[in-house]
Every structure is written in C-alpha cells, then in structure tokens.
C-alpha cells in the first residue's frame, strides 16, 4: 500500500523564452487542471514550474501529450499551524534526523497553510514528522 502522505508534484521544465510560461499555463487551463499549490524556481537560463494539482496522473498525461517536459516528483505536505514557530518545528525535526530539504514552498488554504517540501528521503521524513506529532497532508486532501 502506497503511503498516503506522499503527494505527487508535477515538475515542468520552462525554457528561457518569452511566452513559454504562458504557453504552459495555457495547457493547464485547456485541460482544466486545478492547481492547488505552485512554485516557480528559476535560474538565469531556465525555470522549473512545480505544481500540486488534483488528479496528477491525468494532468501528467495531458501535459506530456503536448510535448512539454514534465516529471512526477514525490513531495510531502506539512500542515502549518497559524502560529509562530511552526516552520521551525518541522525543519528542526528533519534537520536533527539528517534529512535534507531540497526545496519547499507554501500554500495558503482556506483553513490551514501547507508547506510542500521535497526531501532526500521521503518515506523517512514522513515517519519522523508523524512521530513528532506534525500533521501531514493526505493525498485525498488535495
């Protein structure tokens, strides 16, 4: 049984060309892909669009059908309390366990804030965070 706390993120390669991001956003719109969380990582040369979407498998196939470079990546969604120190709690647990956060980005939901993180040991991080009493987003909650 797959771990219900592993969230599938779509990573999309965006080359450094005017209008390229718009073209990709257009594809998301065309296929009515509902974006729940989004991050654009960029270097001077290219960008990587990371998105949490509903029905990621279907979205992946649709985006790919348009010749766009897209990849599925496992991330974890951490539920953040609306209180100071909640970023520290999560980061501290992972840091002490020697798990490296490769990148992360926040998403403000209606009731809660989510922090999506990509770590070098997804399963390990889920276990440790849960043990520390930190609530994680379930796949079904996306």
């Amino acid at each position: 049984m797959e771990n219900e706390n592993i969230i599938t993120q779509l990573s999309i390669f965006v080359s450094n060309e005017p209008g390229r991001l718009a073209a990709i956003a257009g594809i998301l719109k065309e296929f009515k892909i509902n974006v729940k969380g989004l991050n654009l990582a960029e270097s001077s040369e290219f960008g990587i669009l990371r998105a949490i979407v509903d029905e990621p498998d279907k979205a992946y196939d649709n985006i790919r059908s348009r010749g766009v470079i897209v990849k599925k990546t496992d991330v974890i969604g951490i539920k953040m309390k609306d209180a100071p120190g909640s970023l520290f709690d999560a980061a501290d647990v992972l840091g002490k366990a020697g798990i490296n956060i490769e990148y992360g980005y926040a998403y403000s939901g209606r009731n809660l804030d989510y922090l999506f993180v990509r770590v070098d040991d997804t399963e390990g991080a889920i276990g440790i965070l849960k043990k520390a009493g930190i609530e994680l987003v379930k796949r079904s909650e996306i």
Partner: protein
C-alpha cells in the same frame, strides 16, 4: 570508353550483391581486428551477425570527422604502421590535424577510381595532364598524378603557384588537360590574359578536372566559354583517400564506383534513408579501406544520389553537385569551429536529444558562442542545481573539444527549429 567495363556497367542487382559481400567482410574484419570500430559497434549494440542484407548496413553506427581528430595520429588504424606506405594530413582545426594512412591496396583502389574517372571523360594515352593541385600532404596533387599515369597520360606535376611558369609549360608541352581548383583556373586565365596569352587560341587545353572547393554551373559556363574547354567536376576528400570520382561525358552527376564506395543519403534531422534523388546528407563507406575504418562516415556534404543507368552506360550511382556542407566552418575568436565538433560532443551526452543550434554574436570586439540544445524529456530533473550541473558539464565538454568557451542553453523538445534538406544550425549574428 570504360576503364573497367565489368564493374562500371555491372547490373545493379549484381553490384548490390557484391557490395553486401564487401560489407560483410569489412565489418567482420573490423569487429575482430579494429578496436575503435569494435567498441563503436559494441556501444551501438550491433554485432557482425546483425548484418544480413545490404539494408542492414543502416544498423551500423556512424563515424565522424571528430573520430579522426580524437584518434590522432594513428590510434584508429587497423594495420601496423609497417603496412602503411603513405600518409597524408589535413590542416588542423583548433590546432589538431587529421592524419590518413594508406596501405598498398588503399593506393591501388584510389588510383583505380581515378583511372576510371579520367577514362570516362576521355583522358588517356596521348594526353598531357597538368596537375596544378597542391602536392604534398594535400591529397589532390598525388591523387591525380597516379591516376593520370595509370591511364597512360603524361603528367606535368606543376603543383600550385608560379602561374606564369605554369602557363609557359602549358604552351610548350602541349598540355591538353588541367586538374586544379576552379578558382585557380580562373586566376590562371586572368594571368594569361595579362601575358597576352589566349588559352582558347594559344594552348592545346581541351579539358579541366575541377574540384576541392564548391563551384557552380554558372562558373562552369564561364570557364568553358572563355577558355574553349570542357570542365568536369571531381569529388573526394582526404578521408575517402582523396579526389576519386568525376562526372562522365554526360555531366549528369558524379559517378561513384560502387565496388569502392557505398553511399547513402540521409535526412539530416531524422537520419532516415532518403529516396533516390532526394537531397540530404551524404554518408559514405569505403568498402576496400584497409588502413583504418571508414564506415558510415558523416562527411557533412549535402547532395542527392541518382541510381538509374546513365546515358554513358555506367550503372554506378551518381551524386549531384555538392550544394553545401552541413558543416560550414565558423571562426570564433580566431579559432576554427566546426558544427560537427559540437554535434559530436552533444551526441555523447545522454541527456541531450538530436536538435541543437549554434548562435554566434559579437559584443564589442569579443565573439560569443551559445549552443542551444534540446533536453530529452526523460532526463529532466526537477532540481535547479541538477540542471545547472548538466549545463556546466556540457560546457566543460564543449570547451575540451572546441578549445573555446561556449554558453549552453537547455531547451524543451520541439522548441528548436526543424529543417527540410539542409539543416541550418548556425545563426551568425556578428556584423563583420
């Protein structure tokens, strides 16, 4: 008139059978004795047994000019140096020349090819042939020299330069045929005019064998009318031994001796084999080459091949005038850069697909080169650092091969332009 009628007029099916057997032998030998091509076949996952028909040749991996550079001087050779009877070398690109070697048999089929070619344009005993191609490391001079002697013509080995003396000898020795570059012949005609010599009136010159540089039909017309001669196109490069094949009297394409050289025309982009008469990238295999492998060599010339029987009776395929090279040399910051070097480097990087573009710009007095390359979708990594590492790795590889820095820009598949026929992968934005 034929030099070797049995071969030159052999029925096509019979010739294909002969080519297949030559291929089979060649590949078996290379696989068991030549480390370079053995390794290349292994990494392409092709074994000698996979070649069961002439069409199976398409399974064989390509060779590139860069292979000769990388294996300088003789690392690619199949035979011990003691079997080599001649070396030629081409001038270096980015400092490194390429060396070609010849066994006794290699010189023999080279000379045979030229004997057939010269006979096909009616040159033989009784002719006086002035070789005004460079002698020495360049293959033009010695190649024509041996071919002309073979057919019984008298050779005047003037080489290049000292044009006035050349014209004097041309008159005094009754030269009937000249072999040189078209631009040199035009230069000779200009010098002759200044000396008061009219080539049409004052010499016995009747024919010219011209090549080693691109020329056009309008140049042919100009040469023929001003000098009162017939001019024939010749084809060959040092990798193929040297100049080898010419047009016949019909002048409807250059006859390629199929027993010596196998030709394919590929779509430069998809590498699919193109139909009879379609224009694309020439890929050649020297079926009798002994000194080193020359198998599916991407010579980077753009042409087409016609396979029907020529009006002269020869059944050998004819290649049309070379309309360009898909490998036009660039000079960037004073260094010669061949797009094929870039292609070769990119080809070895598994993350990169088939498409690339080269852009050269000038800022102030400094040239900048940018290589845009399409990423293979399955090789995409979603961490910026991983992608930057890939970019840097390609840049380091390019620097190593080109000896000049280039910036790499990664592109998504389909973003770079596709080409029909001649691919134009170089954008030179410099204003010279």
């Amino acid at each position: 008139m034929y030099w070797n009628a049995d071969v030159e007029c052999m029925p096509v099916e019979k010739m294909k059978e002969l080519q297949y057997r030559s291929f089979k032998n060649l590949i078996n030998n290379l696989y068991s004795t030549n480390k370079f091509y053995h390794d290349r076949m292994r990494s392409a996952g092709v074994l000698p047994d996979d070649i069961r028909s002439l069409d199976d040749v398409r399974k064989l991996p390509f060779m590139y000019k860069q292979d000769l550079r990388d294996n300088y001087p003789t690392k690619m050779f199949s035979v011990p140096n003691s079997e080599i009877v001649r070396f030629h070398a081409s001038s270096g690109t980015s400092g490194k020349p390429t060396v070609v070697g010849y066994t006794e048999n290699d010189l023999e089929y080279w000379t045979e090819a030229l004997a057939r070619s010269l006979t096909s344009i009616g040159v033989g005993k009784g002719d006086v042939l002035q070789v005004s191609y460079g002698y020495g490391l360049f293959t033009g001079g010695l190649g024509l020299h041996y071919g002309a002697e073979k057919v019984g013509a008298a050779v005047v080995p003037t080489g290049t330069g000292n044009t006035e003396r050349q014209l004097e000898l041309m008159q005094d020795l009754g030269v009937t045929v000249i072999a040189c570059t078209p631009s040199y012949l035009i230069h000779m005609n200009d010098v002759a005019a200044k000396m008061g010599i009219d080539i049409k009136r004052d010499t016995c010159l009747k024919k010219a064998v011209l090549g080693a540089e691109p020329w056009t039909e309008s140049m042919r017309t100009k040469i023929e009318t001003t000098m009162g001669i017939r001019a024939y196109d010749i084809y060959g490069t040092s990798e193929l031994a040297g100049p080898m094949f010419t047009e016949c009297e019909e002048r409807d394409g250059i006859h390629v001796g199929s027993d010596i050289m196998h030709v394919e025309i590929l779509d430069p982009e998809t590498e699919e084999v193109l139909e009879n008469g379609e224009k694309g990238e020439l890929v050649v295999t020297l079926l009798k080459k002994e000194a080193f492998p020359m198998v599916r060599f991407k010579i980077k010339d753009i042409t087409s091949v016609v396979e029907d029987t020529c009006a002269c009776g020869r059944t050998s395929p004819r290649i049309s005038r070379i309309t360009g090279r898909s490998d036009d040399m660039l000079i960037v910051r004073g260094i010669n850069v061949f797009p094929s070097q870039i292609e070769y480097t990119l080809m070895k990087i598994p993350e990169i697909g088939n498409q690339y573009m080269i852009e050269v710009t000038r800022e102030g007095a400094l040239d900048h080169m940018k290589i845009m390359a399409e990423l293979k979708p399955e090789m995409f990594r979603d961490k910026v650092t991983d992608m930057m590492r890939l970019k840097t790795r390609i840049e380091v590889e390019l620097k190593k091969h080109l000896e000049i820095a280039a910036v790499v820009e990664l592109k998504a598949p389909g973003e770079l332009p596709r080409f029909e026929g001649k691919a134009k992968r170089v954008i030179d934005k410099r204003v010279m």
